[in-house]
């Protein structure tokens, strides 16, 4: 169980997360959505203990998250950061095996042989063929799968994913979320994922949290949250919402921008590339 109580985070005097309160107590897929700069990644950093809240607290099983030693925390919670793994020289297999760190003793030993666990994570992520290849010779999408396989062997009960589908094409996006979903159901995990794609979020999440300007804007089941009005108010985008036949999952269809935008290119957000002399 993970709870946020009136949690805020300020960076350089500007509030990026503002007084958020919520509880994830039951196993399930929880999606955090919202526009760029809404504070989604900052919230995930607070939940992972990587950032200290300016006020309020994050509780993991009733105890403040900062009170857990790193190793203990890593046995309960796994985190997939935005951008995945850097291109280093370790092989896929070695990288995945490093996910076992939190279970290892002083000399890298373990009570039980982790090999079956590593093998199954590799095959689940379709990396068995690539297992001996170093990460710096993989594509971005393959590295992302390796990152997920690494946290799979961590055997967590809570998993935080920051934009897990970046770098992936539609096919792999679906496949990755399908894998996470199946794994979540199997182990009864709490999975919290920051997702950019509203359609993927509503396909795979049981609950959605919508953030805007650092605050909780709305929350609930996808079919209650994803509406034409929400897309307009939160994203300043014009969209139709349609429902898939089975289960009534909402999917959005976009219209061309323009009608709703007073300022189509907010000047503080977009920087035009300057040609750089060689």
């Amino acid at each position: 169980m993970i709870e946020a109580k009136q949690v805020s985070l300020a960076i350089d005097h500007s509030t990026v997360v503002n007084q958020m309160t919520f509880t994830f107590s039951k196993p399930g897929m929880y999606g955090i959505i919202g526009p760029n700069g809404a504070g989604k990644t900052s919230l995930l950093r607070l939940m992972s203990g990587a950032a200290q809240p300016s006020s309020g607290k994050i509780l993991l099983h009733g105890k403040p998250i900062g009170g857990y030693p790193r190793k203990t925390l890593a046995r309960t919670m796994a985190v997939l950061q935005q951008g995945g793994l850097p291109p280093v020289g370790f092989s896929v297999r070695d990288t995945v095996a490093m996910g076992r760190f939190a279970y290892q003793g002083w000399f890298g030993d373990e009570r039980e042989d982790p090999t079956p666990l590593i093998e199954s994570a590799l095959s689940r992520m379709g990396l068995t063929e690539l297992q001996h290849r170093p990460l710096d010779r993989l594509s971005g999408g393959e590295r992302q799968r390796a990152a997920l396989a690494q946290i799979m062997v961590q055997n967590p009960l809570i998993m935080l994913l920051d934009e897990p589908t970046t770098y992936l094409d539609i096919g792999y996006q679906l496949q990755l979320l399908e894998t996470v979903h199946a794994w979540q159901r199997e182990r009864g995990m709490i999975v919290v994922a920051v997702l950019h794609d509203l359609n993927l979020a509503s396909l795979y999440c049981d609950q959605l949290l919508v953030m805007k300007d650092g605050s909780l804007y709305a929350s609930g089941k996808p079919r209650d949250v994803i509406t034409k009005g929400l897309v307009r108010d939160v994203y300043h985008a014009d969209a139709e919402v349609i429902y898939t036949e089975e289960g009534g999952t909402p999917q959005i269809v976009l219209h061309r921008a323009g009608r709703l935008l007073k300022e189509p290119f907010p000047s503080d957000r977009i920087q035009f590339m300057q040609p750089i002399g060689r």
């Binding site: 990587a50 950061q81 170093p134």
Partner: protein, 332 residues
Amino acid sequence: MLLLVVSIGLAVSIGSAGLSLSDVWGILIYKITGIHLFGDWSDSDVAIVVQIRLSRVILAVLVGACLATAGTGFQGVLRNPLADPYTLGVASGSSVGAAFIIFFGLQSLLGLWTIPLVAFVTGALTLFAVFALARSKGAMAIETLILAGVIIQSFLGAFVSFMVSMSEGVVNQILYWLMGSLALRSWDHVYMLIPFLIVGVPLIAFYAHRLNLFAFGERHAAHLGVNVERTKLIVLIGSTLLTAAAVSVSGVIGFVGLVVPHLLRLLVGPDYRRIIPLSAIGGGIFVLWADTVARIALSPREIQLGIVTALVGAPFFALLLYRHKLGGKGDV
């Protein structure tokens, strides 16, 4: 390991005194086993081999082991392929402390370990200053860190030069501190270095597994269960301690900690559990050969050891920098 033993054997055999191979080995076998097997030598020949040549060879191996392990530690914890005791300015910082103690005659303060301990303190302060200079908004760019190291290093180098020129010492001694040398050292220095090596290398090797996880970034390592702050602190202290000990006996010898870990990475891959112990051995071999070249290249005159390592290391550094600019693939 075998290469190290062979290197020691060869290096002991080569020298400017013109002793024959059989004499050298006759003396060594006599000294170790007490059996006069072969050769025909005098007492002064024994002194040359045991007191001068063998001690120097052993010292070269130990200094190399210290510097290369320290370099590996710095590179691992900073995830900076260009880091090394020399480029970070830690070696210069240590030399200021050591030079200060020597030129003001304060050696007797804490006995044999006065110099390395003071060198450690000034080395650590230097590292701290370099970090403070390089850090902007909590992040340290690879090149900025090295630039800060170079700035502090030249500033401190000037200090050392100033101290030496104010003392009675001859100009050669300035070079000794700035370019490093193992001339005129004795077994005492070997004994002084050994405890630091026994503590420092296993300490860093103990954290090898964590340094592997550091390769994915500090935060990622933390999420996998690594106590990042403690790992950084201990590896940095260990590396600085090894640097200080090496500098205390040999002055500033550059680039050893840069060249050796990188060559090992090419040979055995990125796993620190292999690189750290192999660095100790490889560093020993590297400095031993550099020192042997320093002794005999212009025999009977000596070249400064730091000149030899810089002639090898600086182009190597340039190559790494170039590759880093091209995209830095596989450097860390």
